[in-house]
Symmetry: C2
Subunit: 434 residues, 2 copies
């Protein structure tokens, strides 16, 4: 994309309402614009990141055997009365009435709806196990929305729901998601730590949160260095096999949020390995048994002809929140430092002398050779071009100036490390295209 024709606005001033780094940088770099309190429009730069994150989530859900659907945003209140949550859910639920005065709501989550859909088709144990997910906008009417997309009101979530005939099956489904989540976050360049969690309003008896460590995180966490040293991408899970050993390897190390912290157990972790840090929740998985299937009348015929009430779990990833979390974990004073996998553009080509024949030719050549690249072809001084490149956080900057163009070299800067080197155009391409 050519910056001179793109809609990639940046702001010089830091908006006063932004108190944390990701919020500030998302506004300044032009990723989002607030349209109402806690509601954001995604501008092209932010939208590209959101799509890349969404695609990684989708690929890992599919790989783990989950199947994608799309449920609507508006739900009927009647559905939520069946589970008893319509009255139990507080003022965070956005309730409304349609023109026929029917009570509806903007879905904050989809346990009821997916159970209703599934019970419409599943008749036999042969129709299970199934894991259905969707990536859809949700609404929670936070009383004080803040921190940008980290605690917005309209937000994008991936939520999956598993249906199994037995408790053992449900545990297997839970483990599939546990391992898929670790891969998902690792592919995005994030270190997300699974922590045993309270089951809260969803209910049930087994739950883990996935927490990204970042200085500005909202909650205190305690984790063993051994867990931080594990690599989720070291081997690909065989999702059909027994996953207990792989999950146990992750859960055998100490990791807890403040709420679940056990100082006595923490004392058992060798002192040099105790990491106390701040964290941001980016995923949450639950096994809740028959809570919704029983209350909503979902049952199937078992192998022995008797009625079985399926065991369920639900599995959420905060897709729009991940944009903020990624920035919290990857930025400096100048701007964002995108991990390669979710960067809006792989590289920016900065032409320092727009209109100079040699600079234009070399810049065009580099721009054409790098797929998914941005070309800063504006008639601007070098200063603002460098500042915008650092602010927007492209992983690579290819700087083309008159002296370099004459000598057949470009300056290649790696945003994450700040490292710069003069290299031939071919060497620059080899490094960027890997």
């Amino acid at each position: 994309m050519r910056l001179s024709r793109a809609f990639l606005p940046t702001l010089k001033e830091t908006p006063a309402e932004a108190t944390i780094a990701s919020h500030r940088l998302m506004l300044r770099a032009g990723l989002v614009r607030q349209t109402s309190a806690g509601i954001y429009a995604w501008l092209p730069l932010g939208w590209r990141v959101l799509q890349k994150i969404e695609q990684i989530v989708r690929e890992e859900q599919d790989r783990a055997g989950a199947q994608e659907i799309l449920m609507p945003t508006i739900q009927s209140a009647d559905l939520w009365r069946q589970s008893g949550r319509y009255d139990a859910y507080g003022p965070e639920m956005l309730r409304l009435r349609d023109r026929h005065d029917r009570e509806c709501l903007y879905g904050p989550t989809n346990e009821e709806m997916v159970t209703d859909i599934f019970r419409g088709y599943a008749k036999s144990y042969r129709d299970l196990p199934r894991n259905l997910y969707h990536i859809q906008w949700k609404f929670r009417d936070e009383v004080r929305p803040r921190f940008g997309v980290m605690r917005g009101r309209e937000f994008l979530m991936k939520d999956a729901y598993s249906f199994d005939v037995t408790k053992e099956g449900a545990q297997h489904s839970y483990r599939q998601m546990f391992l898929a989540y670790l891969r998902t976050f690792a592919r995005m360049g994030l270190k997300a730590v699974p922590m045993r969690a309270d089951t809260g309003p969803i209910g049930g008896n087994l739950s883990h949160e996935f927490i990204v460590l970042a200085e500005t995180g909202e909650s205190q966490v305690f984790v063993s260095q051994d867990l931080l040293d594990m690599d989720a991408l070291a081997s690909a899970p065989d999702y059909g096999a027994d996953l207990a050993p792989a999950v146990d390897a992750w859960t055998s190390h100490y990791a807890a949020t403040e709420e679940m912290h056990d100082p006595a157990a923490w004392e058992q972790v060798p002192e040099g390995k105790r990491v106390s840090a701040r964290g941001i929740e980016v995923g949450h998985i639950f096994y809740f048994g028959t809570k919704y299937s029983a209350s909503m009348g979902l049952s199937v015929q078992g192998p022995d002809g008797k009625t079985v009430v399926p065991e369920m779990g639900s599995y959420g990833i905060g897709v729009s929140r991940l944009v903020g979390a990624t920035i919290e974990a990857n930025h400096d004073e100048q701007g964002i430092k995108w991990p390669d996998a979710v960067a809006p553009f792989k590289a920016v080509v900065i032409n320092l002398k727009q209109g100079d024949a040699a600079c234009d030719a070399l810049s065009e050549r580099m721009y054409a050779a790098i797929p998914d690249s941005l070309y800063d072809d504006r008639s601007e001084r070098a200063g603002p071009k460098f500042a915008d490149a650092d602010l927007m956080g492209h992983p690579w900057q290819v700087v083309v100036g008159p002296r370099g163009a004459a000598a057949g070299v470009v300056e290649l800067k790696r945003r994450a490390t700040g490292e710069k080197q003069e290299v031939s155009p071919e060497d620059a391409l080899a490094k960027i295209l890997g």
Copy 2:
């Protein structure tokens, strides 16, 4: 995907509420499930189609120079008061109040919001032209939702908005979208005819509808055969060049909806070329000048230092409606006949004797060799397998039976024509992957 593990439910009975073919087939083939009046959940089969349609729309918008953003579904009433439409818009607007009693609405369209976003950044004529689009769920509270996704309440629309400094520029932006729309529908396997339209509630002075011909279409249309014979994919437009000749070639033939029909001009069309048919609107483009920019205070500094109020247009495609329109134009008594480009699966491999070693081996081999294929590996009789394949409408059926497996042949059926032939597995792959 293996059908034995997939969530691809089909219905034997035709649901009573479905009065038109696409609605009936979408329910029976398990593309969607109604969750409230006029609101649908997209099951895996339907979701795959919707994503393919969305991707074609996106690629052609990008190619024409439009840039993707994503605006939220919930909008503030204040924004709509600025244009005067908050009170003017009827009961189809879903109005609501949040927990702080602020008036909001579920967006039925986005002229106000995109104008507000754009005025937040554009300062100079150099920031124009721009065309911003998004693909987002909208809500129109139809009093009597019907025809399935064709007239639903929550629906997916692509809407683009162009901003230009001059009327000539705006006309160029309009023509870019005009030609992009023709390519978009043609790539989906649809013949969509552009027809001069009334500008209606959006206002303005130039508008075209794009109408797919189908027997069950909602409105009567009159079109010259010469226009139907034109091929939108014959050459790729150079969107930077003068597009008037290309657009004029399309608009010089007679084409009109009943509303805009001119019997005198119709008489001028040679009798053998007068096609009177039913049609379904799938796209609508408008040039409306400064209606929103003026009322909402969007202006930029022109080349001469004077203030300019940008000329705008808006361009919509009914993405979810296109699923229904495609089925209306492509089906028979047995089910759907998907055009290749939007088919949920490229082919289905039908194993007629699950558990037979030769059938299983050959079926697995064919399934592995065809990307994006479905494998009917259920322990079912042949009849229901054939019926489901015809109903779901996969473009190719690869039938593997015991006699064929022994002789090294498969039966290959083309769903669109019903043509069947016994061929070697290699020949079948060559035709399918073609």
